[in-house]
Subunit: 469 residues, 2 copies
């Protein structure tokens, strides 16, 4: 336990540094040291920043030092963005200055062959001898939105509760882009690159203990320390959901992994077993990774699997019902009271069975009333509201979403609500309103039900494993 | 054969009418007769339009008649949008005037119970006795972009080569919205509603013979005439691909179908067998329906299943490779010549294996050169170009797509090319450029490879069934 809390503290210094030195910080937009410095500055980091550059007097308005040693103050975090060959020397200088946390973003290490491997080993040796923790090399860096720290090459994430650990910097970045489009934020972003020191299991445990993180989203291709990985997952899933994409499932994928991260992907069946055993939520695509994660951070956990579907298009109801059945969700029987209440305001050709089909003429008011009525039904654990946004009868493309949001404000019941807003770009104003009000809005019944079903599976696992104890 | 060509001709009158009478045309925006009239007028229909309204003198600038009979000229197509109870009388007047084609958009027929059913039977009886063909009732109508005819409640589709038949008006509409967002068009749009006369099998055969239609996209929930349906599919797939979503796969879905279109969904295994036997391409979601259809109309058919992947992010390569393997596509071995050519301009840490990983620094020029080089490789049948749109090093979000498009213009080889542009909204400018240049751009490797694999399956079916003959 002592070892663990020391480790924790040392990772904390990466994410909550009081100041940062950027080795290789540059005014030249063609250099990675420029990009990194820019992201830290524009990200709004509030600690001191020390650019280190042999040639420049100042970088982006900050006085530059020629070397780390020139900086008078104690430095919490050093980020290195210079050619690989020069890195060991800088790490040595860091050691001499008593620095304990270094992120090496530079590439040119074990990922490029024997020579780079030697360089990486040299760096690790210096670090070990001096109790230095290293993230990287060959990574895009980290983010911590709680302190407006964007120490990465990646677009700044919005503040939020998804903690992401990704073995692919680019795919991690794509999650941030995707989430930002929907107004969803992250707590921490972690890309470890070659992971010569700080490892994925360690990062998982760190986020498991991070109070800002409600769900851990993981993209991995291969794992070198299988046992540690499994233990970290177990540790984490006991505290919060972990959603994971494990790529390299097939022979072809494994070969691609080998040429990408150089790690061995390992037999997929083994990973599958590990995820099942630890209760990690395995999904297939990055879209699903995001879909499930956002549901977890935005909605209360479903208390059961009895679902009600509200739709303005019969076809969307049918597709949704199919997906629910496929995932063992139960299309609930609404109470007579609910049905009668619905009949009192819905047109006669509407259906008050489940799916509740409020037909194409349903406007904001009808959506509001229907959601208010159905969500109160004691037979309903969770609610899927679908809409094929109509453009006729003078309806506005966002009004149906407004109806849903208003209903949720009016009722006191807190149940899991997801939305499926269909019809391409025309559905976007409505999706935006739903997202802003923390109702995850998907564009397809398959995606929507999938996310909900995965969340329910995790909760069932949690319940079952508690019963065992 | 004679019967068939008569039928064909009679359907042609629905889609190529020289003039149209709209019964119930209205100036009141709250009425469906307004919406319909507006869509016909704004859609740019070039034939004569006769609004029929008992109370109004003129509708949207067109002189109104009180009844069909008042119109002096011969009428090709009548569209009826008045309450159900009045419809039989109007159909009778049509019969007296010798009209042969009627679309009834009004609801209130067999879908609402016994009384409506009687009304529908009455309408069918009059029609049969007078050789009148009827589309509807309870439908959103039809479109024919070739003659700018939007006789529906649905947004006008762009002109194109996808012919769509949908049992759900709203979901059909959502396909148009989705396609329009991507600049993709349709030849015909057909929603038959209760299909009291013109049936889905008939519509399938009509589109099979329609020279404007390159692919038939079908959404169905249930089929009343199973044998005819199967024959129509066989007839159509011999001429062009048919892509189909069959909803109501599960018990829950079937119950939803019953309350939606009132049709019996039928055992899913039977449908599955029918699709396999006829070579219809079955997909699960509306997104996939669109994804596959657009690929077929936009790209030349793949000559085989040897695929090359180009990516600027290793992770995207791994995910794509996994999907290819899952669908039995072959990650091809590039020739030494290709590899050497790639090595001559790619950075040393790039991978010239397949997936070709041109790394995150790849700009427009690198994309252009790589596509030009790989597409010429004789071992390559089709190409997946992936991009996680980067935002650093001053790169523009659309430049990678421009590189691909330029490459395809420069090389003379015509091979199937699909794109996967990842990273949410930031990928959209690139996707737009690709779409405008007929390269289908998907947002996820799973979707991209799925579409390609389905297309290849259809071609293999075609080849195999030819060999049998």
């Amino acid at each position: 336990m002592l070892v663990f809390s020391v480790m924790e503290m040392s990772l904390n210094n990466f994410f909550y540094p009081k100041n940062i030195a950027v080795v290789g910080a540059s005014n030249n937009p063609k250099k990675f040291g420029y990009e990194l410095m820019k992201n830290i500055v524009e990200g709004g980091y509030r600690g001191k920043i020390f650019p280190i550059n042999i040639k420049e007097e100042e970088v982006m308005g900050f006085k530059a030092a020629k070397t780390i040693k020139e900086v008078q103050e104690k430095i919490d975090l050093v980020i290195i963005a210079i050619p690989a060959g020069f890195v060991p020397q800088v790490v040595r200088e860091c050691a001499e200055k008593g620095i304990k946390n270094i992120i090496i973003v530079s590439g040119g290490f074990s990922e490029v062959g024997e020579e780079g491997k030697k360089l990486e080993e040299e760096v690790v040796k210096i670090a070990k001898e001096n109790d230095i923790r290293i993230i990287g090399p060959n990574c895009v860096g980290i983010q911590n939105t709680e302190v407006s720290l964007n120490a990465s090459f990646v677009m700044r994430a919005l503040p939020g509760s998804i903690g992401i650990i990704t073995q692919s910097g680019a795919l991690g970045a794509s999650q941030i882009y995707m989430a930002t489009s929907e107004g969803i934020g992250f707590s921490k972003f972690i890309n470890l690159g070659n992971a010569c020191d700080v490892s994925i299991p360690e990062a998982i445990k760190y986020l498991a203990d991070d109070p800002q993180t409600k769900v851990i989203a993981l993209y991995i291709e291969g794992v070198s320390r299988g046992k540690e990985f499994m233990e970290a997952l177990k540790y984490a899933t006991a505290k919060k959901p972990v959603v994971v994409v494990k790529a390299g499932r097939t022979e072809a994928g494994m070969r691609a992994v080998l040429s990408h991260t150089g790690s061995l992907a390992g037999r997929d069946a083994i990973f599958d077993a590990v995820f099942k055993q630890t209760g990690a939520i395995r999904v297939e695509t990055l879209q699903q990774l995001f879909n499930v994660s956002r549901l977890i951070v935005e909605q209360p956990p479903p208390s059961g699997k009895r679902i009600a579907i509200i739709t303005n298009a019969g076809g969307a109801g049918v597709l949704s019902a199919d997906e629910c059945a496929k995932h063992d969700l139960i299309l609930t029987e609404l109470t007579e009271e609910t049905k009668n209440a619905l009949r009192s305001f819905l047109p006669p050709i509407a259906s008050v069975l489940n799916p509740v089909d409020i037909i194409a003429s349903a406007n904001m008011e009808v959506y509001r009333k229907t959601v208010e009525t159905v969500i109160k039904d004691p037979n309903v654990d969770c609610l899927l509201v679908a809409c094929v946004v109509p453009t006729f009868l003078g309806m506005k493309p966002d009004e149906h979403a407004r109806g849903v949001v208003e209903a949720l404000k009016n009722v006191k019941v807190r149940k899991t609500v997801i939305a499926c807003w269909m019809a391409g770009k025309i559905a976007e104003p409505g999706k935006k309103i739903l997202s802003e009000n923390h109702v995850p809005a998907y564009s397809c019944p398959k995606e929507a039900v999938y996310a909900l079903a995965k969340y329910i599976k995790y909760l069932e696992f949690k319940k079952a494993s508690k019963n065992v104890r």
